[in-house]
Symmetry: C2
Subunit: 231 residues, 2 copies
């Protein structure tokens, strides 16, 4: 679309990876007017039928301007997101890609993977996995329903940050595996205890959403209350 | 309690692991009257304040009688669970431990692990992880809030099945890691696509629960509807 743009037109995007988008867009656009963006909102569903009104309300939108980006362009894109109810945060593109690798990309990879590991299991029928999925498996499958084309591209385009975090994850998981094998009860307890404490902070940070019958999302006040009871 | 029991008293349990419970109980009880049980229901919360009425309604309760178990004892325990609204399934103890390793124990281990991996990350602030947790991380943290003492024991008492499944999971995850490194787009797409299809079956199987404002759980009819729209 570059040749058809007005000279001062501001261009932005909503992709899940920022470094690669900037790299791909740079040869074609006036980068002073390009404001890379990423609204951190949405569900595992895609297409018009999955639309949620007020999706962006009270959710973060990350803008990742570069040194060359015009301040007024960034401000106008920020104003657009604020008008939709979002909270806007500015972040270095490379830092964005690192933060999202842990908060979003890794969880999706793990979710896709557990569903496939379960499916390949000999001796356990698929029907049994589905039947007893409420024991924890279900949580992981929600995001495994996400669009395969989009996620293939997210992983390939955020390769460096994702490989770094997957490497760390496997390292940590292998340590837990070893602790189970050698009956290191204290190691397991300490790791689980610390995870539990961090979860309380997530809930307190108000990021635990629940689905309500209308199909909309709302903040999980009951979870917040529980967290206060426990602490 | 064994010395205080009537000779024909039926004993049952509700533990998450069955093989080890049988092994520990065997020296003390008349095994003809012991019916190992596991209601697959509950949340990450524990204690009386987290009680949910109708928790067992329409949920599976697995009973794992052995060859020596009296048929009438099994039937009486089954009747108890049915009276609470549960659907009862009989399963070999070793098979139970394998099915639960994939549907419940592995998901908990992965959830605990991602929370800790995130916490140890240099260059990414904890506050940032919490802020952008809605991108997928939140799903995993729910079960990471589960009781550390109980889960330490589950892993140590279901060691064989858990180590087998964790080994497979790491193997599969390493294959995805390799596919990302070598830009194997087709490998990623095929794995993600198959996971998405399995998720649809989970939803169809009616195991996707959502929390409603009262704090109770109810079946996620909207997810079922979506699955039908997509398929």
């Amino acid at each position: 679309m570059a040749p058809g743009l007005r000279a001062d037109a501001i261009v932005t995007d909503v992709g899940s990876v920022k470094g690669k988008v900037i790299e791909l867009v740079a040869p074609h656009l006036d980068m002073r007017r390009f404001v890379p963006g990423h609204p951190v909102a949405g569900t595992e569903k895609s297409g018009p039928a999955a639309a949620i009104d007020r999706l962006f309300e009270n959710r973060w939108c990350i803008l990742a301007p570069q040194a060359v980006t015009d301040a007024d362009a960034t401000e106008q894109v920020a104003a657009l997101w604020r008008a939709l109810g979002s909270k806007v945060e500015l972040m270095e593109p490379a830092h964005h890609d690192k933060v999202l690798a842990i908060t979003s990309h890794l969880p999706h990879l793990l979710a896709y993977n557990i569903v496939n590991t379960a499916d390949d299991l000999e001796g356990v029928l698929k029907g049994e996995v589905l039947k007893y999925a409420a024991g924890g498996f279900t949580d992981f499958t929600r995001i495994a329903a996400s669009d395969p084309t989009m996620w293939r591209d997210v992983f390939l385009h955020n390769k460096t940050a994702v490989l770094e975090i997957v490497g760390r994850y496997i390292e940590d998981l292998t340590a837990l595996q070893r602790a189970i094998r050698w009956d290191e009860a204290e190691v397991l307890f300490e790791r689980f205890k610390s995870a539990q404490a961090i979860r309380r902070e997530v809930v307190r940070a108000g990021q635990a959403y629940k689905r309500v019958p209308s199909g909309r999302y709302q903040r999980d006040g009951s979870a917040r209350q529980l967290s206060q009871t426990l602490s």
